[in-house]
């Protein structure tokens, strides 16, 4: 699809409207409910554990360059780096992309400054390792082992290296929390990490952690957007069934073809 047709324009228009409407609604100070996401609640526990043990934490923002999942990973990093600064715990951030590396450094430096301990920030802990997938994995494996990492966070786009990182983290005894929008990698995180954030819980994470009205509102808007998709598909199933039984209704119920490709 090179350009939007009417179906796309209207559908995306509705979704965008719902999300923005809920954002501005929440910004006016409305109270919003968000269900418990166990994996995300475990983050604070993992930070506390590292602080108690006096050992560093590791945060992998995924393998991609600058992209939407990476941005979300960096938003989560901000929260974890603040906690690290609060407890004076070291946080190591190995990155696989130069631009992501610079933003990660910014985010972490900011978090330390915001907690009033800029002097605890060590720029050497935010590293660019490699943009080669497995060179990156080999480097993270080395760091996990040598630095005796107590807590390991993996958020962002992960591919075949997911199990290498998570299994090594398990072997060195780190508490691990992971989340990725890459569906194929979720099972590997489930088997090897202690807590795994599934599917779009990943995009709910920053709202859940920060309780920022904008993000909570957006999350509520996303729920409405998904409800719209569910409604369209249910209506589609009913229509398709009616058409299968009574093909003569085709003249009246021809809206299914609005969604047909091409």
């Amino acid at each position: 699809m090179n350009h939007a047709n009417w179906t796309v324009a209207i559908l995306e228009g509705v979704l965008v409207f719902l999300i923005l409407y809920k954002i501005f609604w929440a910004r006016r100070g409305k109270d919003l409910y968000i269900r418990k996401i166990p994996g995300l609640s475990a983050i604070d526990e993992a930070v506390g554990r590292a602080a108690e043990m006096g050992r560093p934490m590791l945060f992998c923002p995924g393998l991609s360059g600058l992209s939407l999942p990476t941005l979300q990973a960096l938003a989560i990093l901000k929260h974890i780096a603040s906690a690290a600064a609060k407890y004076r715990t070291r946080i190591i951030v190995p990155t696989a992309d130069s631009v992501v590396y610079t933003i990660a450094e910014e985010v972490t430096k900011d978090a330390y400054a915001a907690q009033g301990v800029p002097e605890h920030f060590n720029p050497e802990d935010i590293r660019f390792l490699s943009d080669d997938q497995f060179a990156y994995a080999s480097g993270v494996v080395g760091i996990l082992n040598r630095e005796k990492v107590a807590s390991n966070f993996m958020f962002g786009n992960f591919f075949a290296e997911s199990l290498i990182l998570a299994e090594t983290g398990h072997q060195v005894g780190a508490v691990q929390v992971a989340g990725t929008p890459e569906i194929t990698q979720i099972p590997f995180f489930i088997t090897a990490a202690d807590y795994t954030i599934i599917g779009d819980e990943f995009y709910a994470a920053s709202a859940y952690l920060s309780r920022e009205p904008t993000l909570l509102g957006s999350l509520a808007g996303q729920d409405y957007a998904k409800a719209v998709l569910v409604f369209i598909m249910l209506a589609g199933v009913v229509t398709a069934t009616l058409l299968a039984v009574h093909p003569s209704l085709g003249e009246w119920l021809n809206w299914l073809k609005w969604f047909s490709p091409g």
Binding site: N2, H3, A4, A9, E12, V16, I19, L20, I23, L68, P69, L71, Q72, L74, A75, D97, S98, V99, Y101, T102, E106, V107, D110, A113, A114, E124, F128, D131, D132, Q133, F134, A135, S138, A160, E161, L163, I164, A166, E167, H170, P181, I183, P187, F188, I190, T191, A192, G199, D200, F202, Y203, S210, E212, T214, L215, S218, Q222, A225, K226, L229
Partner: protein, 271 residues
């Protein structure tokens, strides 16, 4: 300036290099000075405007209908240029990554910290591989440079990458052994699906149920068919449902980024 008027195509590469450098200093200096004119409290707004305008390029191109014949609209040609430019600008950031690597390994090496020979190995590998790359690029007809490059690439980057990748095979075994226990209903379901699909994919699995007929009702229970059904029906539906949620989440994220509603998520410090 230099590259536009003074230097003609066909001039030696080093003259071009000097020209590009001079132009960079001239234009870069001009942009830098212009930016100094922006009052401090407008900086945030400027960044937000740049973000919004950049976002308009792709979205307007998508929503404006294309010419029925060519399928292109007034922006389609431009976004191809934008894509190239983004790649180029992004590539310049590699210097920051290399700087990070040099800073880390250089410090360890200079202070002779424990294990400094590893940091030395980093530098040796870096320069040898890079130079071999440029050497074979500059001498396309030389068997010597090509062999050297292939030897180094196959012997290091390719081989170590393949070795690291294949470690996943080992880790699958230890992860499966440890995690697939019938502790709860959820874990048991996961185990059951993995078990059937794994068996259905290897020759020995097909052998187990080879006694069942190849067609008809009985064939449905052949392991390879059960495994195929799991992957194609319930798994595909679950996959699609997860993906819808992720896609909506990404759309919302894009929206917040585009309209600079997300600012506070990355950067705290005031500009």
């Amino acid at each position: 300036m230099f590259t536009g008027w003074l230097i003609r195509p066909g001039a030696p590469q080093w003259i071009w290099a000097v020209g590009v450098l001079c132009d960079f200093l001239i234009f870069g200096g001009a942009v830098f000075l212009l930016l100094q004119l922006v009052p401090v409290h407008y900086r945030k707004a400027l960044v937000a405007i740049v973000t919004f305008l950049a976002g308009l390029i792709y979205s307007v191109e998508f929503f404006v209908p294309g010419d029925p014949k060519t399928g292109k609209n007034f922006l389609t040609g431009f976004i191809e240029q934008v894509a190239d430019a983004t790649n180029v600008v992004y590539a310049f950031a590699l210097g920051l990554g290399v700087y990070s690597l040099f800073r880390f390994h250089g410090k360890n090496l200079a202070r002779k910290r424990q294990g400094w020979h590893n940091n030395l190995a980093f530098f040796v590998a870096f320069f040898v591989m890079m130079l071999a790359g440029f050497w074979q690029d500059l001498t396309p007809s030389s068997a010597m440079s090509k062999n050297t490059f292939n030897m180094l690439f196959d012997g290091t980057v390719a081989a170590l990458g393949a070795a690291m990748f294949s470690i996943v095979g080992f880790f699958i075994v230890s992860a499966a052994y440890r995690a697939f226990r019938i502790r709860s209903a959820e874990a048991t379901l996961m185990l059951a699906a993995a078990f059937v699909v794994m068996l259905g994919q290897v020759p020995i699995g097909a052998y187990i149920t080879n006694g069942l007929p190849a067609a008809g009702l009985g064939s449905l229970f052949r392991l390879e068919n059960v495994s195929y059904w799991i992957l194609n029906e319930p798994n595909m539906a679950a996959w699609r449902a997860i993906a819808f949620g992720i896609e909506v989440g990404a759309l919302a994220m894009a929206l917040r980024t585009w309209l600079s509603l997300e600012r506070g998520s990355f950067f705290e410090r005031e500009l």
